[in-house]
Amino acid sequence: MHRIPLKNDTKEIQLFETRILVAMILGAVLITALIARLGYLEVVRHRYYATLAENNRISPIPIQPARGMILDRNGVVLAEDFPVFTLQVVPDHVPNMARLLGKLKTLIALNKRDLHDFRRRLAQHKPFQSVTLRTHLSEAEAARIAVNLTRLKGIALHARLRRDYPLGGLAVDAIGYVSRITPGEEQGSRAARYFGYRHIGQFGVERSYQKELMGRIGFKDVEMNAEGRAVKVLKRILPHAGHNLYLNIDAQMQAIGEQMLDNRPGSVVALNPRTGAVLALISSPIYDPNPFVEGIREKAYKALATNPDGPLDDRALNGLYPPGSTIKPFYAYAALQTKWFHPHKHITCPGYYHLPHSTHLFHCWKPLGMGRVDLKMAIEESCDVFFYRLAFKQGIERMARYLTYFGFGHRTGIDLPGEYRGLVPTSAWIKATKQPWYPGQTVITGIGQGPLLVTPLQLADAVAALANHGVRMRPEVVHGIVNPVTHHVRYVKPYAFPPLPRHRKNSLRVLIRDMTQVVEGPHGTARGIAYHLPYKVAGKTGTAQLWNVSPGFKGKHLRSDALFIAMAPIPNPRIAIAVIVEHAGFGALAAAPIARALMNFYLLGHVHVLPQNQAQTRVALARTHP
């Protein structure tokens, strides 16, 4: 039952009136505050806001910070911001355009094209807007204009920072380059971060350390008069320059490697095995990044993009190569960890190998065979049959597992963007292909053919793991990040992956000793680089047969890729190196000398040049292989 309450109407009205009164007092306070605020804005600050409003006048103009420099390990400048001068004309302020242009012609170079473009822009702009007459004035030209500025009415000289790569294409794949921010990046999810910036790092450390390099943008609120000229800067927030990057790369060493590759397609990666520092990261052929900064012309870009040697490909990180015989030491390492394998056990190499109950023959590179072969000799002379047998004995699962320990099939984690994983035929991968796996594929994977694909960086990192007592370090391009104001240095910490499993005590020492035979041994496949070497080198040559060319690389001629991996000096390696020269034939011939030159430079400080007749050497080495 609903009870009807007794209502005291007079009392309720009284209560209501009190409440309305309180609400009115509150409302009066609020209205007073509002009117006071409006009065403040419209009377006290009127002039200020009127100035802001009147002519669309206040515009926040970004002040570009200087992007951080990129330097090599010795302080050689690889990338810096460089002032460029632009000459601009405000037509409204020019009493006589023809006379002005006549005067300017005596001071700076103005060709027909400049003038034609200038006239076209002049027609597009309003008379009070400044129009660019010429960009990229030389310093001498800028100085001549500056001196005569008072005689040239309506002329303005603007200095602007432009990214410059003084060494051109040197280490371009490690450094990357900056380019104009595209509309897509301008509207992306991180658009706010890049507001006001004109350039953004693409590829290389320019991209992966964009945050450190970019600094912080400044703004100035500029008051413009009716002609669109800046009258007064109302407020200025100064930009903060970006941090400088010191790389582990040695520019000289890099240059030596690039010169020796001589724009043949190929790649060299040299690491410090103890820290993972990337000493050289070469992807040949190189290209000049400077035209990309302000937007490369289409024709020039097409020429680069359609070049069959693929200069734009970053081979060190993205080149997928069959490793050929250079993979053998890693299989040998896997075998050395077992109980059944002994390094001194001999097999007989008849020059071919066949699987049990099969007639298919797998040939050794030496058609007549090598006879009695133990591990030392198998590595020294790169005996295929030895490793065919080893592969069959180990099985694909164990082989793939050990390759994974060495970092193959995974990204190395280098501080550069866009690294490829490569391919290791693990059981998971085999299952995913939904194709049967035949023992014959295991056999050819045992000499680095088959589906196995590695990047030069992975190969170098795996060699570095052997050199560093079985501890693989993450490759690092950047050594330290320096605050340009406080000079505070933030070092990139070396990062060690879990050590390789080692079940036999001397296995690594034995393997490295056998690898030194590749260079020192009487039959070593790379004995051509051994003479006069004051330090010991352990290495392995490789020749990867190409039966299909990866789609990214437009091979001209289907010759084998030459590979060479090395570490020096033994017993305490300070450099680990992987060299790949595409379509160059035998690894010892094309790749090993490059490794030797780089190791010489790094360990001795100078490059030995072959004293022998080049042709003779070539003949002498022609019989050797992988």
Binding site: I13, I20, A23, M24, G27, L34, R37, H46, Y48
Partner: protein
Amino acid sequence: MTIFERWHLDKPLMTALLILAAVSLVVLYSASGDKLGFALSDAVRLAIGFGVMVGVAQISPDTYRRWSVPLFAAGVLGLIGVLAVGVVRFGARRWIALGPMSIQPSEFMKLSVPMMLAWFFSRYSLPPRIWHIAGATLLLLVPVLLIAKEPDLGTALIVLLSGIIVLFLAGMSWQTILGVALLGLAAAPILWAHMHHYQRQRIFILFHPEADPLGAGYHAIQAMIAVGSGGIFGQGWLHSSQAHLHFLPDSTTDFAFAVFCQEFGLFGNIALLGLYLFIVYRGLRIAFAAQDSYSRLLAGSLSTLFFFDVFINMGMVAGILPVVGVPLPLLSYGGTSLIVVMAGLGVLMSIHGHRRLVN
């Protein structure tokens, strides 16, 4: 019997509203960049609004009282429907699509919540007991939380405010008010932690609009420039550079008052504010003259809510309140919000027009 009495309308209120509608046409013509079509479209909407108001005024307050609960229930169902099958626009689920139209039940709650609470309190002797207040608060929190979930924090706060106004006018005791205020202060950090990033940004920007002149602070700065450049007498009709050069965003809707400020200056502001305060005053007069506690509470709270609508919008434009999407009643170009405001005014008219003349 005059025509106003026959149609249950209040003459002074009607006059003020018509003046305001004329001002709206004048301002929006300028704010839209001198587009006659836009002003015509505004005229059509205003006409519909006035039609709704007159229609609403014909129904007696007794009917509203009887329909308070079903209307409230329908509104809450609508809000649940929005969360279930609503249309997402501008990142929030606030609309229900009905054929070619789409409606916002949250706007409707601005009217339904005061009606519901007025009905609730009119059943008891006032001042209300503490459990009545607790019951009313529960009733209030249902739609508020549903709206906040959409998310539409601005409307949720307005609906909350409308409920609080009824609670206050019903005679909630001062101790309770103080306690709730302290509780609110204590809950503020929790609320802050649950806010969206853009909502926090808006509050932060209120204190430092210069920190992000092209991003979150842009609205506030451009509005203040428009207000400040108006000066004492304004720059004259059709001379709002902020609107004509497209510096001021939403110049026809939430920031129409900024255009008005730039064109008519401080004098114009005071006149406009006077007009609005007159409407509020008439509303309160109607509340005083109301003959039962339901009508009294409803008229009082609708008038007060109208005042807050005006104050929040003007305060936002003047930069003393954060940027929330509350349009200026009648002046801003609006759809649902205009209809709801006009319906509210219609209820006021109805309360005025259906009084039984005793003397």
